[in-house]
Subunit: 670 residues, 2 copies
């Protein structure tokens, strides 16, 4: 990093970097997959950094929504062109480039490539792909994925938009039959796209066949004017996502040809006969991929917040430790360490987990492409809960990082509010978190029933068969193995307790559904414990099986242990309720927390440097690599649009009339 | 409430109100202090509701910062005038009026009345008050309280601005000696005020006497131009507080007369002799009052978020409970109840706590005014921790409420982001929360030492002498008394553990300071437990000593128990680590949570209605009293500034050039 043009660095930060006892570059390579991968990443970052077209002409937070939209449109279209010119085809390459060029400045065409194109490729027939893909790839067709409605989100079966097949004209008639059926929220729907993939209830031959997908033109491809029968627009300002024209759409008797239904799996024949897909789950593939991506994406958001907060905490000095002595770096305070270091550990934990489940997704997905569908349920069970667990935990920690920056964290100058409002919708979109926890809970309940019947389970849930009478063997070294076992014990016990509870409610005479409704909160807790165990185990395996040098490995072990130890203390009741951890072991774990904070302290800045985010991506006065935070805050203040004039017009309009004229002689004496 | 002009109400909401088993009006009166107080409150709310000057001409979130500033300035100046015309003098009256007129639309003159005037009244001499108060009360002088600097916030001793007395000219010379010494953050400092009360290090006769307060003119009282030697401006956009011109200020050799030091307590005589105040703590009074107010204020923010989320959860239906059946109100889901009802309980808990400590503040403060200073330390110990505990917990719960509204919670249409960004700075300003926890921790440590020596303690810490060997007597009824005792046991045990830990570290040879630094996180946890116990006890006492009718009392008991039971389950380790609660008692408490959610369910809407917030204050499509949320969301969308044109100019500027022209014949076939 130091080689990338930064010269003068704040003395405290320079000292931190000098005193780290591992090689940052080694860790960066470990995170991003090797020397070549890091070099490639940096090359693409630098392309973005050095491109004047990707500069903003003012701070993001100073722009109106219209300006944010225009800026993002300009930048993302430019990047799309550059991606083509550079012939980038790897998803990762495009991501690194755009992340640096417009971080948390959401693309007004992002859903086109993240959902519209993949769905077309996955669910379109060869004919459809031949016809539409070339146009879509050249942005002549720009599309979104219109699922969510005003009255329905995650519960897809409840969606109300209808597509009724008319065999006479061989067309589908699209209709928004109620107020609540209007599409609401799809990205870029309001102003940008000219097409959408519409999720609608399919009616043919007088019968409803449930949700299917349709290619629907919304605007004229040349004039961009909205088409007859199509009412659409932007849904208005949100907490974040200012550059995204999330839209609403009302369809009034809009007709599309039969060929516009995506018919790779389900079909409607010319005469209206419905042909069902080979596997009902097959069409949910796009959503699963997005959920998989979310795990790594929210960890990246958290990592960026950590870079900002940790660097600033090394620069900021506050309160002398002994009277009259120098003020301490706030990173030296135990309470500050306890806010930030577990957040850093969490960023690592979810990043490695995200990479791992992406690997799993690709493996299972290629089986699915070859017609092997038996692991779809496992994949869904794995990813639904992890999407919820990662987004919820990472976002909470981003706010912790922001608050750890004190007052300046509240200024947009810190850069963290921009990250938070961009990350937090991950808790809601692509499946609301509680709903997803409960989907994984149902999967765990099924798994538990299999365990009871002695069946073998896939690797990541095999621990459910653990002998719960065994007590922890955790010793003063607090080994990674003992921590993994503790998490697996906790999860196995909680899943068993929830499953036993529902089973006994059913025995008492409640229906399965009634019993479920009375135990959902318990199942949510159990599922969180399951996800927690998966993350601890994945992180731990990643560290144990690595071929890192001793120093780097040592610091990674400490970080992994901190993630696990902190989680135990935050959920202590779960671990001691059945006596699994003894009171002596609790003392050991509590002491270990303090030791780990001390151990990580000298490496804290190096640990966040290793995430390798350039200043352009961080867009933060507090997180600058050179630590020159106070001058940056002063510059940020001076650039405030309110400072264009010394005396604002509103003084004359509003303040001056209510003020009495003050006696000149009094004024002069002040 | 129904009498206030609402006619058609969503059927689900109407049913909820009909089915509540207590009288909402009774509870409203209980919250706000009786029938007359409620009537007064509603009268003032209606004055604001019916005043066309207090309408916004567009949604707050659609305004630029300049527009937010101007709108707030216009409205708050108008309200200041109306307050004078209506002769409102009670703080509460003014609050109810302005809260309705411009809720979470921060006043650009608020600090003038909340800190500038009170400090002038409290710390000014009779001469100063005579000279400045009449001008300040007529807004000829508008002032702020300039404490925080770019490099220093809560740590007041570290502030760098200097005021050096020059006996020759009988003036103070004010100076910002470093970059980090510029004032940064004071409210309205950038553009609005013409005066400030400046906190600066006092130097006289060659010696520094620490922080003192000075009246400093910043802008010409007539032209409003900034004065020579004064560089100031707005600090730029923040997470929220858009209408507040938080400012920066650099003083370069600015001279003010000796008489501009606030000299009621400390003095500098003409010859430069320093006269110290009778009690060093006396000048911190203003800050303590603000901290006291924060407890009730953040509870109000949470209450508003609860009104929105609970009403919306009654209106919103999602997912059939049994296949093919009607979709359930989401408030019927246990997981939704578990998000919202503890938040409602928390809002009540902190509101009553805020009222109670306000009462205590007034009692102690009137003693202080009469020269009895012995309870200042207790007051500080009580309020510092509670400010931190209330703001941190309420803000977390506001986000829980927002997320419980699903996707629509993310839209500014929900009204909750506006509440969150307005509430969250309470965690940082008027003392950063961790710093405040540690101030109360030091107080608790002192108290514990007194207990060890057999001294008597004030009421709210007397439980520290509890016999820790006694186990809980909590039974299946889970009485309020047993819950209070559980919290007091937990807090007493944790304070003792932290105090014992630091004492033994000192015995091992560490300095007091070193030992403190190694135990701060433990002390933070102990202080949270202490505050939690205080809140549970205060809420419980309020309910037990009330003269409510049986039905209302029953529901209040359930709400109070839910607050306590949920807190036990969230911190279970603390309560069972030493065997205080047995495993059977934990099962009892866990079951009780489910029972309480069931018990509160029919009263949920009534419980939030009782907070008595009119729609104008909530400013939310989801929280409307009439429940017409979907039409409101559609209207909100249509009003988006991006919808002024069907095709945005940016289509022609950016999108059109990169799109190939699509073959007309293809386009026609779509």
């Amino acid at each position: 990093m130091a080689a990338r043009g930064r010269v003068t660095v704040n003395a405290d930060l320079a000292k931190e970097r000098k005193n780290a006892n591992f090689d940052v570059e080694t860790l960066t390579n470990f995170i991003y997959g090797g020397v070549a991968a890091t070099e490639r990443r940096r090359y693409l970052q630098d392309v973005a950094i050095n491109d004047p077209v990707l500069e903003n002409n003012k701070a993001w937070a100073c722009m109106s929504r219209e300006e944010q939209y225009e800026t993002a449109l300009r930048k993302h279209l430019h990047m799309a062109k550059r991606i083509e010119e550079m012939k980038l085809t790897e998803e990762r390459d495009m991501f690194y480039y755009t992340e640096t060029g417009a971080n948390h400045e959401n693309s007004p065409i992002g859903v086109h490539s993240s959902m519209f194109l993949p769905t077309l490729r996955k669910q379109g027939t060869e004919d459809q792909k031949r016809r539409y893909l070339p146009l879509a790839e050249k942005l002549e067709i720009i599309g979104t994925y219109a699922q969510t409605e005003l009255g329905h989100g995650t519960f897809i079966r409840g969606l109300e938009t209808t597509a009724t097949y008319d065999p006479k004209s061989r067309e589908f008639v699209l209709q928004s039959p109620t107020l609540t059926s209007m599409k609401y929220w799809p990205g870029h729907l309001g102003k940008t796209v000219n097409f959408c993939i519409l999720m609608a209830q399919l009616y043919t031959s007088g019968k409803c066949y449930g949700m299917h997908t349709f290619l629907v033109p919304l605007r004229d491809l040349n004039t961009h004017q909205s088409l007859p029968g199509v009412e659409l627009g932007d849904i208005g300002p949100k907490f974040g996502y200012g550059s995204n024209d999330n839209g609403y759409l009302i369809l009034n008797n809009v007709r599309i040809p039969r060929e516009n239904m995506l018919m790779r799996y389900s079909k409607v024949l010319e005469d209206g006969t419905y042909v069902k897909p080979p596997n009902a789950k097959i069409s949910y593939g796009t959503m699963t991929l997005i959920r998989v991506r979310i795990v790594a994406n929210v960890s990246r958001c958290l990592a960026q917040a950590c870079v900002i907060a940790v660097r600033y905490s090394a620069v900021r000095r506050q309160t002398e430790v002994s009277p009259g002595g120098p003020e301490a770096q706030i990173i030296d305070y135990q309470t500050q360490q306890h806010k930030l270091f577990p957040a850093v550990a969490m960023a690592y934990a979810f990043y490695f987990t995200g990479s791992e489940i992406y690997r799993i997704y690709n493996r299972i997905n290629s089986n699915v492409e070859q017609g092997k569908l038996d692991q779809i349920g496992d994949l869904h069970g794995l990813t639904a809960g992890l999407k919820a667990f990662s987004s919820s935990n990472c976002c909470t920690s981003i706010e912790v990082c922001r608050l750890a920056c004190g007052g300046h964290g509240y200024s947009h100058a810190s850069g963290i509010p921009k990250i938070y409002v961009d990350a937090i919708p991950n808790s809601t979109y692509e499946g609301e978190n509680t709903v997803l926890y409960l989907q994984t809970a149902r999967y765990l309940l099924k798994c538990f029933t299999k365990v009871q019947m002695g069946e073998k389970l896939p690797g990541f849930v095999s621990y459910l068969g653990t002998d719960l009478t065994v007590k922890s063997t955790l010793k003063s070294d607090v080994s990674l193995e003992s921590l993994v076992l503790a998490y697996e014990h906790r999860a196995a016990r909680m899943v068993k307790a929830a499953a036993t509870n529902i089973q006994s409610l059913v025995k008492e005479g409640l229906s399965q559904q009634q019993a479920w409704n009375k135990t959902t909160q318990q199942f949510v807790w159990a599922t969180m414990a399951h996800c927690h165990a998966y993350v601890v185990k994945t992180f731990s395996t990643k560290v144990i099986t690595s071929n890192l040098d001793d120093e780097t490995r040592k610091v990674m072990v400490a970080v992994c242990k901190l993630y696990a130890v902190n989680g135990i203390l935050e959920n202590l009741g779960d671990f001691i309720q059945d006596g699994f951890l003894s009171s002596g072991q609790v003392d050991t774990v509590t002491r270990k927390l303090t030791y780990l904070l001390d151990e990580i302290r000298p490496n804290a800045v190096a640990l966040v440097d290793a995430f390798d985010y350039p200043d352009k991506a961080l867009d933060s006065c507090l997180g600058r690599y050179d630590g020159d935070v106070y001058q940056a805050l002063y510059d940020y203040a001076k650039a405030s649009p309110l400072n264009k004039k010394d005396v604002l017009d509103s003084f004359h309009t509003y303040l001056s009339p209510v003020k009495g004229k003050v006696d000149k002689s009094f004024s002069a004496k002040l």
